[in-house]
């Protein structure tokens, strides 16, 4: 018995002591959308600077913001910029740094329809408002001549969990449909959906759409590409039907680069330009403007510099769009604001 106690205490002590000396440990939390690229970046950065460990967990944009405000993480990440009220709540100043661009695409499952569908802005808003209920509604058929659409009811699928993807989608709908804005409200990670079923995560939405005939849902571009899920074209502000791809997303960002505010909090949905994909968005890192710990501060600043230069080279491999040159230039200057 005594021997057992000795063994157990040794194990506990061992577990407590084991550890490397001199590592700089940073904890970060936030958006799920950029998790793949962030995990890649932090891993590569760690290999290049073995004493810096950045532990990022995707607990959600809202979670990231709250943990940042509570001080339990060193920096946060969010798919939607923080609102003025949230910034006012913080006891310290928070800076936004866009990192990558992404897009949200409509995916569908209609019997007999194998090609790509064109969705007008009115069609998407109408479907999600519950105003357009059948697939052979004129708003949809007029944009898709030659495609035989059935007279079936549309099964609408949305996200059940709060998410940055929903934020981007609702941001777009709020911009293009005054009815959506008044009935459902502005962009948000969770809304009171007028119709439809909820799926958890991109996996849940795409799974539901795949299994349910006559359904439509929205998912991240990366997800669609990685899993070979067919998706449709969306009409942009210039009236053209654009299929989401990295070039179209970067075009949407470039159009807004010139008018970007100093704090980088901007929405680029429904961006102008013939080639711009209308449901695109930045995603941001949320960094405190003042960091007491000098080693942590330098580590974060150096990482940001790396992210804006070498880091961007990893984007396309994982189906994220690069930041436009103008935005990178502005951000590089903003890094010096971190004291």
């Amino acid at each position: 018995m005594r021997k057992n106690i000795l063994i157990v205490s040794l194990v506990l002590a061992f577990a407590a002591i084991v550890g490397a000396e001199g590592t700089i440990d940073l904890n970060a939390a936030g958006a799920t959308f950029p998790y793949p690229i962030y995990s890649k970046w932090f891993d590569v950065y760690h290999q290049q600077h073995s004493n810096i460990q950045i532990n990022y967990q995707s607990i959600g944009s809202g979670g990231g913001i709250r943990q940042l405000l509570a001080g339990t993480v060193d920096f946060g990440a969010s798919d939607g910029p923080m609102s003025d009220e949230q910034l006012a709540q913080a006891k310290f100043k928070i800076l936004h740094f866009p990192t990558v661009l992404g897009a949200v695409v409509p995916t569908y499952n209609i019997a007999g329809v194998t090609g790509e569908l064109n969705f007008t802005q009115k069609a998407l808003a109408g479907i999600y408002l519950g105003a357009i209920t059948k697939w052979n509604d004129p708003e949809i058929t007029k944009a898709n001549p030659g495609v035989k659409l059935p007279a079936d009811d549309i099964v609408v699928v949305h996200r059940s969990d709060g998410s940055g993807t929903s934020y981007i989608w609702t941001d777009f709908l709020a911009k293009i449909s005054p009815e959506w804005l008044s009935k459902v409200g502005k962009a948000a990670t969770s809304v009171n959906w007028p119709v439809g079923l909820g799926g958890k995560g991109n996996e849940g939405v795409s799974g539901l759409v795949k299994q349910t005939p006559d359904s439509i849902g929205y998912i991240e571009l990366i997800y669609a590409v990685q899993n070979n899920i067919p998706y449709g074209k969306v009409q942009n502000a210039a009236g053209k039907f654009v299929k989401a791809d990295l070039a179209g997303v970067t075009a949407a960002a470039a159009a807004s680069a010139k008018t970007m505010p100093e704090d980088f909090r901007v929405s680029i949905t429904n961006a102008p330009g013939a080639t711009a994909y209308p449901i695109s968005s930045f995603t941001w890192l949320l960094i405190p403007a003042q960091i007491q710990d000098a080693t942590k501060r330098d580590a974060i600043k150096n990482f940001l510099k790396w992210m804006l230069t070498d880091g961007q080279n990893y984007n396309e491999g994982l189906t994220y769009a690069r930041l436009p040159k103008e935005v990178i230039a502005k951000e590089s200057k903003a890094i010096s604001l971190i004291q």
Binding site: G63, S160, G162
Partner: protein, 332 residues
Amino acid sequence: MSAAATTIAHEAPPQSGPRAFIRRLTRGDELAHLITLVFAAGILLLTSMIVYELWINSHLSRTKFGWDFFWTRIWDPNFDNFGAAPFIYGTLVTSAVALIIAVPLGLASAIFLSELAPRKISDGISFLIDLLAAVPSVIYGLLGIFIVVPLMRTTLGPMLIHSVGNVPYIGALFRGPNYGVGFLTAGIVLAIMVVPYIISVSREVLLTVPREQREAALAMGATRWESTWQVVVPWARTGIMGSIFLALARALGETMAVTMVIGNAARINPSLLGPGDTIASTIANQFTEATGDLYLSALIELGLVLFLITFILNGLARILIVLTERGGGHPS
């Protein structure tokens, strides 16, 4: 006589006063009583702290909505209008479905494993069933999506709609449209998740029923089934009820698995085949992303409401036990 008495018993100790207390303490019984009492009270303290936290953090929402929170059917994070009615409905319906499926199935299996199966097989199977309790709810959710949902949509749902759906009154429970996700699917997945608790605990309790009870019944000419159902099971009644409480509690609080198969529509739907949502699933889905203070407060208030529901259901169940107490079975 007195000489023999003194060699066995101590001299009569003082019955009261501080010295008596110390003496009782050192004899161990009082200490044991005290220590176990402290730990038991600790549970009360812990639960009170949790309720307290829930109460404090839901302050904003409680003061804004008051009692209306219980029957408002709208849940709108954008316009800061929150009501718990659809989720209360969903929680109650899914738990009811889960128990209706799991209790007969679990009890029957436990009876089989304890009374009929050879001991070695029974031990082996029971061991494996215990493992089921360890499967993470995320995996149950995934299995629900890949297996139960398609089954519901293509086979089970239409079958129910065409058969029971036409029966008056009950038929309203089985109306279309049928997407595969919904209350019934969630109830089925929950049933699978809670059945191990019922089987595991009930089997163990049934095994503790003394042989004499069974043999007495059989000696009086009862069939095996009669002996089991009318003598053995009632003897183990409190333990079996305990396992059902465990199952109910798990069903009420389950988040991940339910949220993946219930369809997540914040609506009250009379049909079991329709989509809905539960309290636990809503909290889990929206808590990480919620940033507005009122929004967070409303989610916490949902947690408080669930606590209240558990409180009431437990109370009702206990009253039910007392009412059906017919004697037989050891006292509780």
